[in-house]
């Protein structure tokens, strides 16, 4: 069985590394990027099962990237991971098309569980 493919987008190297290693230990194949625009193009060019994206990215905000993905027809589940955790922001992120929202500081186990939920619940193609 193929490993689930996860795209991690975070400009903080420590966050990106931790999520990458944690997800790899959970049996996923992970691609990590630090730039919103690059992530936008990569996700349209390559199929991922779940995308984890930071909210405050240089250049393009996480929720703006999600909005553009949705406008481009990308249906991949996206989890926004953010240190900004006011109600307004969470609602706006979910309205922009994100599937879930995780606040920083986070628990690695919780993030893995949330990723697994997205993989389990995603619509089966074909």
């Amino acid at each position: 069985m193929n490993k689930p493919k996860i795209l991690v987008v975070d400009d903080e190297r420590a966050v990106a590394f931790l999520l990458t290693r944690a997800l790899e230990s959970a049996g996923c194949a992970v691609t990590a990027l630090g730039d919103g625009l690059e992530a936008y193009e990569r996700a349209l060019a390559e199929r991922f099962d779940v995308i984890l994206i930071d909210h405050l990215l240089p250049g393009l905000l996480g929720q703006e990237v999600v909005q553009r993905w949705r406008q481009a027809g990308l249906a991949t589940p996206v989890i926004i991971v953010s240190g900004v955790s006011n109600e307004e922001d969470i609602v706006r992120s979910l309205e922009s098309g994100a599937s879930d929202y995780v606040r920083k500081p986070f628990s690695v186990r919780e993030i893995i569980a949330r990723v697994k939920v997205q993989i389990r619940d995603r619509p089966q193609s074909g």
């Binding site: 420590a14 500081p105 628990s107």
Partner: protein, 392 residues
């Protein structure tokens, strides 16, 4: 002469070349240093990240890095990023690595900046075993360090340190005392019993603590706050009244009612506001009396409180015919700002005769209380407004 000029030019040229080479070397060295630091940091990010993912207890192997500022900064970065079991595991690892011991040692440094960053770091690490050392830092010679230590203690949240925080606050100027009060607020409910005890003493920052207790909003402080209402310190009476407005129960109402007769207008005004928040019907006649207070603030707060208290709106409307013009004015001003008057103007167009009559009664009372201008601005006919003014 020409030879001398050539020699000077050659000399200057030489100096410029030497300066350029020095600059180049300096940039090269500092660039290399930056790259070395970045590479080291990157390596530490990987090492500590692996440690968290694996939950590996082999963190003792990292002891050799504990003195490296980059390593410490990476551990703190992960500490800020994580919560729950991951954070606890990293805390245990930080102890194993000797990192906590390093920071504790830095608390004794002669260098002020080193002490500041050690206190900050210990606050972020949040190790309960460091409480005693951080309490000691509440007596540091530098007030900023004392405040930082207070914040660190609040982050750890061990209630045994609250008494020390209150004691250290006594030595501070107002600005620093406020910062310590902020730390006490961060403690939340855990700090309440000790703060309530402080309120019963003679501490100079009792008003600040009364305010903080009100912000925390814990019922256990109510007894001390009620007691504080009879203090000889007007500032304390005022803060305690405000706190009881936020967090009191019906038990506080009789004492707040008595406070409406306080000698200081600031205290009476605060008591009136607090009674509005407590929304107890028995306050209505007292607040109505307060509409005749000599202070504008008390009259205004009493009128605003009547809007909140059950049965208060009726008392407020009847006060439009109060014999005291100041009471009438206070009542009218609050009724106008509450939006009821605007609704009455709309209601004049209602098909229901009873609605029209009620609206006309209210407008007439307000006009007679001197608020005709509002209705003229709202577009009512001046002759009609004049007729209402004349209506007895």
């Amino acid at each position: 002469m020409a030879d001398l000029a050539v020699a000077v030019l050659i000399g200057l040229g030489g100096l410029v070349i030497i300066a350029a080479i020095s600059l180049f070397l300096l940039k090269a060295v500092s660039g290399a240093r930056r790259r070395r630091i970045a590479a080291r940091r990157s390596r530490f990010v990987d090492l500590v990240g692996e440690l968290i993912v694996r939950g590996d207890p082999g963190s003792r192997n990292f002891r050799r890095y504990a003195g490296d500022p980059e390593f410490r900064s990476v551990v703190l970065e992960y500490m800020r990023m994580l919560q729950g079991e991951d954070q606890l595991r990293l805390l245990a690892a930080a102890r194993d690595m000797g990192l906590v011991a390093r920071f504790l040692k830095s608390l004794r440094s002669r260098d002020r900046d080193e002490r500041v960053s050690a206190v900050e770091a210990l606050g972020e690490i949040g190790d309960p075993t460091t409480v005693t050392d951080l309490v000691f830092m509440l007596h540091d010679i530098v007030p900023e360090i004392q405040v930082q230590a207070a914040a660190a203690l609040a982050n750890i949240g061990d209630p045994s340190s609250v008494k020390s925080l209150l004691a250290s606050m006594e030595q501070q100027d107002e600005w620093h005392a406020q910062r310590i009060a902020d730390a006490l607020y961060s403690f939340g409910r855990e700090a309440v019993p000790e703060m309530a005890r402080y309120l019963q003493g003679t501490g100079r920052y009792r008003p600040l603590i009364a305010r903080t207790l009100g912000l925390i909003g814990d019922i256990r402080a109510e007894g001390s706050l009620i007691q504080a209402l009879s203090s000889s310190d007007a500032g304390l009476r005022m803060r305690a009244a405000a706190a009881l407005g936020r967090a009191g129960t019906p038990r506080a109402v009789p004492s707040l009612l008595e406070l409406l007769a306080d000698s200081q207008w600031e205290v009476r005004a605060q008591a009136a506001s607090a009674l509005g928040r407590r929304t107890d019907r028995q306050a209505v006649p007292w607040l109505r009396r307060a509409l005749s207070d000599q202070s504008w603030w008390v009259r205004h707060n009493a009128a605003a409180a009547l809007v909140e208290v059950p049965g208060g709106n009726e008392a407020l409307r009847s006060s439009l015919a109060h014999p005291d013009p100041y009471a009438r004015d206070a009542a009218a001003a609050v009724i106008l700002s509450s939006g009821v008057a605007g609704e009455a103007v709309e209601a004049l167009r209602s098909v229901e005769a009873t609605d029209r009559l009620a609206a006309e009664d209210l407008i007439s009372s307000l006009v007679q209380a001197g608020k005709a201008e509002f209705f003229l601005v709202a577009g009512l006919n001046p002759e009609y407004v004049d007729a209402l003014r004349m209506r007895a």
